[in-house]
């Protein structure tokens, strides 16, 4: 291998390594160091059963906040998994909250009964979506740590195993 070729290989390797490490550290920063995470915007809504539903009352818990709609297929597919997670981790301080972005509450009430949802659901609006950075597609799922900060934002349907792993990590961070 000529000197020139060796330098080219070395330069390519160095560039690749720098890019990889930058991506790695960026990803790592996304899951640690609470000061890097925004506080989840507070909200106070009325859930489908008429009870007050506010984020503040769940402080100290890990919260999965799911923006969804009854007609959204990937949302519908996720909901039974979220109900399972609610059952599995509630005792450890985990809470799922559903925010339906349906245009009216009627189909949500029907859906809630049909799917035997075991966590509170309220109907959201554009203002709430904007406060969470814009809900410009569904589903959007936020994972909020015990400190009330947003640690993960997933746009689109997620692998439930990935979410469960993230929940476990947040539950362990006391």
């Amino acid at each position: 291998m000529s000197n020139k070729a060796r330098w080219i290989v070395l330069a390519v390797f160095a560039a690749a390594l720098v890019l990889y490490l930058a991506a790695h550290f960026r990803a790592a920063r996304g899951t640690s160091g609470s000061e890097a995470h925004e506080l989840a915007p507070e909200f106070s809504l009325t859930d489908l059963s008429g009870q007050k539903l506010d984020l503040a009352s769940h402080k100290g818990k890990v919260v999965l906040l799911d923006f969804w709609a009854t007609w959204c297929k990937p949302c519908r597919e996720e909901i039974p998994h979220f109900a399972d997670l609610q059952n599995k981790y509630a005792a450890q301080g985990f809470q799922v909250i559903g925010i339906s972005m349906d245009d009216s509450p009627e189909p949500v009430v029907e859906f809630y009964r049909e799917f035997k949802m075991n966590y509170p659901v309220a109907v959201g609006d554009a203002k709430l979506g904007e406060r969470y950075g814009g809900v410009l597609g569904l589903p959007v799922t936020f994972l909020i740590g015990r400190d009330g900060r947003i640690y993960h934002r997933h746009i689109g349907a997620m692998d439930v195993l990935v979410i469960e792993k993230e929940i476990n990590t947040l539950l362990q961070a006391r």
Binding site: M1, A16, M101, D103, D125, A126, G137, L138, P139, I155
Partner: protein, 164 residues
Amino acid sequence: MNPRSRIVAGLALGWPIVVFIALWMAAFATSSGASPSGDPSNQPLIQPDELVKILQSPKADKPLLFQVGFYSLYAQAHIPGSQYLGPTAKPDALDRLRKRVEKLPRGKFIVLYCGCCPWSHCPNISPAYEALKSMSFTNVKLLYIPGNFGADWVNKGYPVTQGD
């Protein structure tokens, strides 16, 4: 350096690059859209940049733009001049669409868009398109939004407006 040492050195230098390229490709594979429920190759699509050119051209024939997604999405961001119809996966929104267009000439240029969710999962675009097709509209285009309206329109800097 003997040939064997060169091979060893080459492998030592090469594997992180191979791993890097593989990770890079995997990242792209997972972020791109899956196969659509309505096959885009069989549908009269219009790409976002193509629509923007039409909307911004003073001479172009402007389409009637209908948003067939959910209201809070429309209220947060929609294409200027577009009209909200609601999620046409539901019968009431489909009825609104039919009533809205029933008196229009069948050659009217109409663009439907949603962006509620990935194209592969959008429940609204296809029913709206089928409704217009069954009413014999001949110049209907579907705005191709592979991921969602935020990622594929708003974040790309295309024109948006808020509110009603």
